[in-house]
């Protein structure tokens, strides 16, 4: 038994594809047998280690979730919520617009009243404080005219 397993024979034996010749050689050659045994043991530990390593990195955690098809009740609820949301979206700007219009109308009315007051004051011939004097003056003029007229 001078000839040990070739590289290909060794690989095929490791892959579980050894021929009768290779199996006989392995049975008789302790050196090849030991090497194959050591390699098998190493690859077994390798596989276990990778699986353990994979578990440590989240292999056991399933993070996949299918979106469940909607049930009838859930579908109705979604539709109702959608309608409410649409109503809110539609009503809020209208309400806001109406409030702004009312505020603008009130402001316009206030402005109108103020302008009216200013116009009234400007249309007076004498200041408000002097109005009693004007009355007095206009009263004496009336008296003089009436007395002159009776003469």
């Amino acid at each position: 038994m001078n000839q040990h397993l070739t590289s290909d024979q060794f690989a095929s034996s490791m892959a579980g594809e050894s021929s009768g010749v290779e199996r006989r050689h392995i049975a008789e050659c302790s050196q090849c047998r030991d090497e194959i045994e050591r390699m098998r043991s190493t690859l077994a530990v390798f596989g276990d280690s990778v699986r353990k390593w994979g578990d440590a990195h989240g292999a056991a955690r399933t993070s996949f979730e299918l979106a469940r098809p909607r049930t009838f009740a859930a579908g109705r609820l979604r539709v109702a919520l959608a309608i409410v949301a649409m109503l809110v979206i539609a009503v809020v700007p209208v309400t806001r617009h109406m409030m702004e219009q009312r505020r603008a109308a009130e402001a316009a009315m206030q402005d109108g009243l103020l302008m009216q007051r200013i116009d009234d004051e400007l249309s007076q011939t004498v200041p408000q404080q002097m109005e009693p004097l004007l009355k007095l003056t206009s009263g004496s003029d009336t008296e003089q005219q009436s007395s002159g007229g009776s003469r």
């Binding site: 590289s7 594809e17 050591r38 596989g47 280690s49 990778v50 994979g54 399933t62």
Partner: protein, 192 residues
């Protein structure tokens, strides 16, 4: 989950009947760990593995109607995962990010996760060194060699199952596996 993936799921959910969706969730629970493990060991990037695994199950869900049961469900899922891993590796747009991720995220050496076994400290140290060597070599294999190697020694799939998952002929699977084993043997020889 990314928004695009979420929207795709919504579309898929609408297209598929409710019963299928419920059944598929149990499929996901059962097979997610194995698919994720293969993808993670292939890409060595947790975030990418998560995304690719998500995509794998999404595609499986959408293609559930086309599954004829000729292969086992696991082989069928692995076939999708193998294709996605290959596409991911080919996608040049992600090359830069892959390099960046590899530099930034240390997913660690699997030899740090060796199961406890009855062995002397010397034996444990030697085994750890060999496992680290195998992990190192697995990272340098060609994509096909690595895929076949991981399916065989991590997923414990036999040659015919590997053929089903990779779409390769049995002879081609053997060639890739033998080359991978030769590389591992050479490296372990140096490590010992």
């Amino acid at each position: 989950m990314e928004p695009a993936a979420t929207s795709q799921l919504m579309v898929a959910a609408v297209e598929a009947p409710a019963l299928e969706a419920e059944q598929f969730e149990s499929v996901v629970r059962q097979y997610w760990p194995r698919v994720f493990l293969f993808v993670l060991a292939s890409l060595r990037d947790r975030d990418a593995a998560e995304t690719v695994t998500q995509d794998c199950f999404l595609r499986a869900y959408r293609g559930l109607g086309g599954f004829r049961g000729e292969a086992s469900l696991q082989t069928w899922l692995m076939q999708i995962a193998v294709n996605l891993v290959r596409d991911y590796a080919r996608n040049r747009r992600l090359q830069f990010w892959r390099k960046t991720q590899a530099a930034k995220i240390d997913v660690g050496d699997v030899s740090d996760w060796m199961p406890d076994r009855d062995a002397t400290p010397e034996e444990k140290a030697l085994t750890k060194e060999r496992v680290a060597a195998v992990w190192e070599v697995a990272g340098t294999l060609s994509p096909k060699q690595r895929t076949v190697f991981l399916l065989r020694f991590v997923e414990d799939m036999d040659l015919l199952e590997i053929c089903g998952a990779t779409g390769l002929k049995e002879g081609a699977v053997k060639v890739h596996l033998f080359r991978a084993l030769k590389a591992v043997r050479e490296r372990i020889g140096r490590a010992v």
